[in-house]
Symmetry: C2
Subunit: 300 residues, 2 copies
């Protein structure tokens, strides 16, 4: 069973890209003859997906004297969104669409390209951003809880030393016993507001957050594969059961043809990806148990 | 200058709601004669916005013998999405829409209602979820960095005691010196995968995350207000300048009439909200400086 393209895109990281005066987080996949692009800015999530014919046709329109293969065209536009060559890019926002116009070079000749981006489906934003970010927030919060526990253990150790008359040679090394509530309050009233000011309108994911994102999304992908696999097995079992009841020979080929996505599936269909996903230690490599339906009763 | 409704919705928290077999995070605002609803599930973000006439009309259709004010109708449906009364709710997903059918009570009589939800605009998902979650992830990460620093200071204190011959009375209180890299690796390889299994397909935001969310969104709201205010001041200044050059008297009323949203503004327009926002210590109360345009160069 081939992996779905959306799973490949999901495992790509977000990279910050400055285009003109605008900041974006960008996910892009450039195949040999196609590309798929997601751009996140303060207005929303933008998307463009182009295949060979469309790429050829637009290249011709923008560069009348150019004759080049689709592969060469795709190669010429890639640097713009992977960090380099963004100096010659301008943005136009109009009627709910966003056009990025860039001037690059191809075989020593000027080459013009345009990305015509439209708002991505909301499901794409949820799969690519909201769900992983919810998981990442939960993970980071668990980290802080572990660190609180470690701090309390160290305080217990220090307390023991002190109770037995131990003295510091350097007074400045003395720390206050850690109080979680005080830490949180100080953070919310002093540190977080400063952080918000610094990060105002900046979109970023540093290396640790990228790592958490990669783990969260590899999990999402593993779950998607497992669900698809279970659905297919169920369909095959149903077909075999019908065949058995009818007295026919098991019809494997027939079963394969009935593999259609569940009617309510709302996955974004993408061209086959060829980019290698970054290799992080992956939960996908472990046997995935069946999902437990947990009711999570939560504060407020 | 009245606050925009979308700002009120932004400051509402997300609450987990179980409807049938499905888990959602839900944001809802129920006014006297209108409501606005957002529901997040594993398929995406759903929305419904209804005003008095539409509510009356649907109530009539579903309950032919019912005569009730819009206020009473809205009151009857509120509990379904604020935690109570979800036993009598069923979900139908079809053609990209989601219908929640509920049976409640109004003045001792059975009362039927339906929420007809469609996919929310992607910009709504970005404003209500993606941006706050990015900010929250950054905040939690900053917390871990502060805690790492605290742990190192405690290790320095412990080291000083030990170097001066201090002994523990209870050996079990001894801790290992904290090594950030080891902590991260253990977390990524052991703790995080377990957490992912526990939280599989569960959507939640506990009290601490809710607090971070509230701070992040009050900041977003403060920025929106400030930008709108600046745009209005600029427009007024331009009008006054033109008037001055033409020799007219300053035309304040004229300036007020020219207040139109910037053509590229992509804000969701909502009915006026009346729900009181939860009161968290708010960065919005502090003078907000002009945004600095920082290029954030980040590790891939």
């Amino acid at each position: 069973m081939a992996s779905s393209s959306s799973e490949h895109l999901l495992s790509c990281p977000w990279t910050p890209v400055d285009i003109g005066d605008s900041q974006f987080l960008c996910k892009s996949w450039f195949g040999q003859t196609q590309y798929h692009l997601l751009l996140l800015d303060s207005d929303g999530l933008w998307e463009e997906q182009m295949e060979a014919e469309e790429i050829q046709s637009r290249a011709q329109e923008l560069n009348r004297r150019l004759r080049a293969s689709v592969e060469a065209l795709v190669t010429a536009v890639t640097p713009c969104l992977t960090g380099g060559g963004s100096d010659h890019v301008t943005i136009q926002r109009r009627d709910g669409h966003m056009t990025l116009r860039l001037k690059s070079e191809l075989a020593g000749m000027p080459f013009h390209w345009e990305f015509h981006c439209r708002p991505a489906p909301v499901a794409t934003a949820c799969v690519q951003l909201v769900r992983p970010l919810l998981v990442m927030s939960g993970a980071l919060q668990r980290q802080t809880q572990l660190l609180f526990a470690l701090l309390r253990r160290k305080d217990a150790e220090i307390q023991d030393y002190k109770e037995n008359g131990a003295q510091l040679t350097r007074e400045r090394l003395q720390t206050e016993p850690f109080v979680e509530e005080t830490f949180r309050q100080d953070f919310m009233t002093k540190t977080f507001p400063s952080l918000l000011e610094e990060q105002e309108s900046s979109l970023s994911l540093d290396s640790e957050l990228q790592e958490l994102y990669a783990s969260a999304t590899s999990r999402q992908n593993a779950n998607s594969k497992r669900k698809r696999s279970e659905e297919e097995e169920e369909e095959e079992a149903e077909v075999e059961e019908e065949n058995h009841q009818r007295g026919d020979a098991p019809a494997q080929k027939e079963a394969e043809k009935t593999r259609t996505p569940a009617p309510d599936a709302k996955k974004t269909t993408l061209p086959t990806m060829q980019q290698t996903a970054p290799s992080y230690p992956s939960a996908a490599d472990r046997a995935a148990p069946k999902p437990k339906k947990k009711k999570t009763g939560l504060f407020r």
